[in-house]
């Protein structure tokens, strides 16, 4: 049975009849009549009925395939209560030479219950002026330059257009970033091999990855049309109730605060911009 032998039969219509899709319609009796009176339709009906039964039986026998363990683990990580994992790096220790292709430096600071990345995106901070040297990396670990390094915050603040230009809330008793980064980095960061912050909002989990955040920055840079952007702060937060990342940056067209959605940096969504306002 290939179908070719039933060239005079509308196989789709016959299939509908066999599958019960014509029940209660005028077509049901039309097809029934054709089967009763037309030998070709009758032969097709008998053959196809058997074939369909076989197909259903075979489909029912398909073995289920368990979800891959890595996907299950990924989902567990995304939808569990937030835990912190750290990026390999040590803000206090002398920086090692970095590969020319590495665009982000990843020491971490944590203070007063929020997460702060420092030195994350040094080339954006520096206007991507060239490959990072030991000297610049070392100075990034020092207190003076760290004051200007982009912070990655996880305040969960629900911004609106009216508040988007405001500075992200800072902890009242935050210790100096270099100290906290150093203390944390020496004890744990070296043991971690993979960068990801598990955030309070799993919808933004993808953007907690270094590569995804970089793609997000690049999408913003493309859409901003102001040349290279220098990122100042990144706040994993909300905007008008929706999960959002608030990116404050400067470029040749001035200072900006952009609220971008969880799909920022994806090919389909681009920057996934929710709103943007100029900032002084």
């Amino acid at each position: 049975m290939t179908g070719a032998e039933f060239s005079g039969v509308d196989i789709d219509l016959l299939a509908d009849y066999i599958g019960g899709a014509l029940e209660g319609t005028p077509d049901e009796s039309v097809v029934a009549t054709l089967i009763a009176e037309n030998p070709e339709w009758r032969a097709a009906y008998e053959s196809l009925s058997g074939g369909v039964s076989l197909v259903r039986a075979e489909l029912g026998r398909l073995e289920p395939e368990p979800m891959p363990a890595d996907l299950a683990a990924r989902l567990d990580g995304m939808f569990s209560a937030p835990t912190l994992t750290l990026v390999k790096g040590d803000a206090a220790a002398p920086a090692k030479p970095r590969s020319r292709s590495r665009r982000w430096v990843t020491p971490i600071a944590i203070a007063a219950g929020f997460i702060a990345f420092v030195g994350f995106g040094a080339d954006y901070l520096a206007g991507r002026s060239g490959p990072q040297t030991d000297d610049t990396a070392s100075s990034a670990a020092g207190s003076a330059d760290l004051a200007q390094a982009p912070q990655i915050l996880n305040t969960g603040t629900d911004y609106s257009r009216a508040t988007l230009s405001a500075e992200p809330p800072q902890p009242l008793a935050a210790p100096a970033a270099p100290r906290s980064a150093g203390a944390f980095g020496e004890s744990e960061a070296k043991e971690q091999d993979r960068s990801q912050i598990a955030l309070a909002d799993p919808a933004l989990a993808r953007l907690s990855g270094q590569a995804a955040l970089q793609e997000c920055f690049e999408a913003i840079e493309r859409e901003n049309l102001g040349g290279v952007i220098a990122v100042q702060t990144v706040d994993f937060a909300r905007f008008d109730g929706a999960s959002a990342v608030i990116v404050r940056f400067t470029a040749s067209n001035g200072g900006w605060a952009w609220a971008v959605g969880a799909d920022c940096g994806t090919r389909v969504a681009g920057a996934d911009t929710l709103d943007k306002v100029p900032v002084p």
Binding site: G51, M67, F79
Partner: protein
């Protein structure tokens, strides 16, 4: 939930998530992820794409949980999001066609190939069935995956796919018929009929005007809600 079952229902978990319980959605995912995975895998036919579809869909569900109005079961809602994410990926593949392989076998609305098979008693038969399923149009494949493989009642499959019950019946019926034609050689081997192996049979199914005589002149009559 029965009186002896102290675990929260799906609806209770979703409500808890909306109200800020950070564990609730994860528990919901753990309950249903295997079935969601199975639907995505069979619909897309590619493990990596299926994994991405499941992840995207669950992130979307997590984000939009507050919009769930309780008109359907939570599982139905989750399945709908996963199926839509899967179909979106198939459509995206159609919109951005890939370069055909040298054998020209790649079709952009169909999987590049059958996903690796799980151990089965009759591995060969299983592979042939999977390939025939993968060759179906995406809407027929999705309906068959839900009804014939996952065992959902037609009415629930209709709800998941957001189409009429008659449409699901028709998609399943036509998809099974295409598969039956494609599996003609298999049936011939099993029943003693003359083998008529035809992996291209789906394209031989008469479906256009004039393909058969006489017949009523409406095809997707069932495709209405």
């Amino acid at each position: 939930m029965t009186s002896g079952d102290l675990s929260p229902s799906d609806a209770e978990l979703l409500r808890a998530h909306v109200e800020g319980d950070k564990e609730a959605f994860g528990e919901l995912v753990r309950r249903h992820r295997e079935r969601l995975w199975a639907v995505a895998l069979r619909t897309i036919g590619d493990r990596e794409e299926a994994a991405d579809a499941v992840q995207d869909a669950l992130l979307s569900a997590h984000r939009n949980a507050a919009r769930f109005r309780g008109d359907s079961a939570v599982t139905t809602w989750l399945h709908r999001i996963v199926v839509n994410a899967s179909l979106d990926r198939i459509r995206r593949r159609q919109a951005h066609p890939t370069v055909p392989l040298p054998d020209g076998s790649r079709s952009d609305d169909r999987p590049a190939g059958v996903e690796p098979a799980a151990p089965a008693v009759d591995h060969e038969t299983s592979m042939v069935v999977r390939q025939a399923l993968a060759d179906l149009p995406a809407d027929q494949r999705a309906a068959i995956v839900l009804v014939d493989i996952q065992g959902y009642p037609v009415a629930e499959a209709a709800e998941i796919l957001d189409v009429a019950v008659g449409t699901i019946k028709s998609r399943c019926a036509r998809g099974r018929a295409r598969m039956a034609l494609a599996l003609g050689d298999l049936r011939g081997r099993d029943s003693g009929h003359v083998a008529g192996g035809n992996q291209d049979a789906a394209e031989t199914v008469p479906s256009g005007p004039g393909a058969a005589t006489p017949r009523p002149d409406r095809h997707e009559r069932r495709d209405q809600r």
